[in-house]
Amino acid sequence: MEVRKNHTANIRYGIAFLILIALLGILFVWNVNSGSVDLTIKEIYKILIHKKGEETSFHIVWDIRMPRILAAIILGGALSVSGFLLQTFFGNPIAGPFVLGISSGAKLMVSIVIVVLLEKRILVNSFLMITAAFAGAMISMGFVLAVSKKVEKMSMLVICGVMIGYICSAITEFIVTFADDSNIVNLHNWSMGSFSGMNWDKILVMAVVIFFVMVTTFCMSKPISAYQMGEAYAKNVGVNVSLLRIMLILLSSILAACVTAFAGPISFVGIAVPHLVKSLFKTAKPILVIPGCFLGGAVFCLFCDLIARTLFAPTELSISSVTAVFGAPIVIYVMIRRQTKV
């Protein structure tokens, strides 16, 4: 019976991964296929696999749609893993980079850097953006950590995070208002959250950074799993808890910063996706949930971006407004369930 139980659990995990991969595949094709220019599946197949086709279509698929799709996959995955790490750190399912104000902190720093450098006619490269975003993320994180030492209740911490988010957004608005006219449009789009305006250089940078962070995170599944039982028990089985805590903060901040640097702040993905993934897998084991969250985040963001881009085409919605519509109800559900359980 014992063996059978383990067996069914393993089958469940296998099916869960298959579902996520299948969804990712379907959404990938759907995304490539949607947009202002209609392409047949045959044409797309030719362009993607044989790298041949009519020049405009080729350009649309390879230089506009593909980078955008890959950005949604990579950044969506990164965002939900960041959420999972923060939830582990604070031991609470409603923690996430957006509600704790970390995304907004990153956004503020990035906009300051962009505006200052643009004034001086210096081109901003991707690494500089990530660095700025990381610095902003760490500043917000510092505030959140300072507050978390003072307040016991997680709800208070989230409220503080939301407030920090508002302050940062307000200052960002202020800066954007004083920015050079020609750049406002771009900056404005970005500060609302969007996967548009990607190119292959950016994809390369984000892929490399996030790949390394993800590998590190995955290798830490064992100490993270021990930490899920609380600091004391983690320490008791021999985890270096202070190092782990620093790592959790650093990794989640880099992931959130990377997302913000390229796509602006994106709401609720960090909370909703880990919750959905854990429900799908029926476990919170990091060794499964970390890759699961990455896939889930990719699927969720591809889906939301598809809607953002096609629902009122040619007008584009900001990605955050779409993720909020799907993500916020899940967050509310998680909060209520937690309330009734305690």
Binding site: A226, M229, G230, Y233, V237
Partner: protein, 364 residues
Amino acid sequence: MKEYFLYTDHMTVGYQGRPLISDIELKVKKGEILTLIGPNGAGKSTILKSLTRQMNLLGGTVYIEQRPMNKMTDKEVARKQSMVMTERIRPELMTCEDVVSMGRYPYTGSLGILSKEDKDKVKEALELVHATDLAGQDFLKISDGQRQRILLARAICQEPELIVLDEPTSFLDIRHKLELLAILKKMVREKQIAVLMSLHELELAQKISDFVVCVQGNTIANYGTPEEIFQSSYIKELYGITKGTYNTEFGTVEMAAVEGTPEIFVIGGNGSGITIYRKLQREGVPFATGVLHANDVDYFLAKELSNCVIVEKAFEAIRTENYEKALKQMNQCKKVYCNLQEFGFLNHKNQKLLEIAKREGKLL
């Protein structure tokens, strides 16, 4: 000190650099249970947290198998000692089996995947705490008693030589308290593990511990076997009890005797008085009782609950002087209770008291 698995040398513990208790000398052998008792806030948890490295020592040294613990890595310590804490944990979506298998952490590889051997150890630990049927259940959905057993299984699974438990029985009802301690005792005996724990329940501490340490004020006030420590007067002093007593023979805590002139006389003996004493105590009625033999079970309770007990030496027939004392006392009382049915050579005079009470219409 070689025979001790763990001992401390002038250990000082406290919070944020402020010493709370200093010069702590604890020692525990394998196969023994050492229990910390003492009033709330005395620092029992602080000592246990310092021993498990949850908190830093402020002074002194802890030795595990003659090796200073501060020279050992976290992983080494993890293989030597495990713990069950008093704080509740809320792990998400973890089955009881998952929680228990967390104890295998110091033995698994870098990704924490359980081997066949690890799984067997988990199963064995679950069996030991009689929780095999809980394995697949959500840890958050089981009762407090079950949870505590699962956490003990987790600690056992870590294959320690010392288990530290901080008030393991706190949230449990009486049945589960007994179950848990029985498992603990069995484990100590069978696996020759050393146990260091704190307990709130004195009566249980007296019954399960091999040695007892009393934590009081800023020192270890006393150390010894339960027989040495659980003396009524000492326990009263340790906890600063003023409104009751600690009964050494029964290992129970009793409320203080009701003050005042006795209103009721109880003719007791052979355990017949106990229920009456308790009833009168609850109702707040001061009573006198006699004549009780010093080896009568009624006497052990009566001496805690009444300020007026007429006692006769063990194995002696009741002497006239004691009989007269009792009669005098009975005459001053308005009513008499007697549940005693059997009278024999030794307590023949109690029968006389009963007859007088009947004649005077005082008997209830």
